[in-house]
């Protein structure tokens, strides 16, 4: 097994842990944590693919943009969380069931 295959195998495990967290949890904060783990795994794939093809400069240029995006996404998610908490007094995603049909 090459180093690359090992890397991606571990990345697959990280992805699994992140998705598991998003599926199992009812708390919005925990779901955000799962999302963060998933996006860490996605970032690792970019750099690892760059390292394999000797294209690290390009991969890092992509990664810097991804990090900027991630900060804004997390800030937006936490803003939604805090607003939800203020309006409804809970951070529980399964209490969100007023819409049905």
């Amino acid at each position: 097994m090459s180093v690359f295959a090992f890397d991606w195998y571990m990345i697959a495990l990280l992805l699994f842990a992140g998705f598991y967290c998003m599926l199992a949890s009812r708390s919005i904060v925990r779901q955000l944590i799962g999302l963060e783990i998933v996006s860490k795994a996605a970032m690792l794939t970019v750099i690892s693919a760059g390292a394999l093809t000797a294209n690290l400069v390009f991969a890092q240029a992509l990664l810097i943009t991804m990090i900027v995006i991630e900060v804004v996404v997390v800030a937006a998610g936490l803003a939604l969380l805090v607003k939800n908490f203020r309006v409804k007094g809970s951070a529980d995603i399964w209490k969100l069931d007023s819409l049905k049909g």
């Binding site: 598991y20 904060v29 944590i33 860490k40 294209n55 900060v71 951070a91």
Partner: protein
């Protein structure tokens, strides 16, 4: 190679810990540790710029944001703790997945690596960003503007009643 493998194992362990921790604050800190290990992996793969950004922004800034939000809602969250059983099942589920995947995924990824196309890979980050990825820089500007307006819209300045 051993250092490299240990870093990956540490990232997975911290990720599991972040998912399973009882207190949200512990989760946030474990997430920061995942970030730190990921940035060490970046350094190890020869991507120092990515490592520096990951360390300062993801392990630093995002953790601060998380801890801030968690401390706002922690009080309420601890009053109604969610059932832990599903989280304690994570190591089992992950182990099952790891064993099942061991037979297929490495082989698949090895085949994938066999299809690789080497790049010339010269230049510096600044030049690559400016020459090759200029539209992305525009996207970043747009993203930051969007972030500012999102915060303004979600938390408006209340006028006096």
């Amino acid at each position: 190679m051993i250092y490299h493998a240990l870093l990956f194992a540490a990232a997975v362990v911290f990720a599991m810990w972040a998912v399973m921790a009882r207190r949200l604050l512990t989760s946030a800190i474990m997430l920061a540790l995942v970030s730190v290990t990921v940035s060490l992996i970046f350094f190890n793969l020869g991507a120092p710029w990515a490592g520096v950004f990951e360390l300062s922004v993801c392990a630093g800034l995002i953790t601060v944001l998380f801890v801030g939000a968690v401390s706002l809602i922690r009080h309420e969250d601890e009053k109604h703790p969610e059932s832990r059983a599903r989280f304690y099942a994570l190591p089992l589920a992950l182990a099952a997945f790891a064993i099942a995947a061991w037979f297929y995924l490495p082989e698949f990824f090895d085949a994938l690596a066999g299809w690789r196309r080497m790049a010339s890979g010269g230049g510096t980050i600044g030049l690559a960003l400016w020459d090759l990825r200029r539209p992305d820089l525009l996207g970043q500007v747009l993203m930051l503007a969007a972030g500012v307006f999102v915060i303004k819209s979600v938390f408006p300045r209340r006028t006096e009643k």
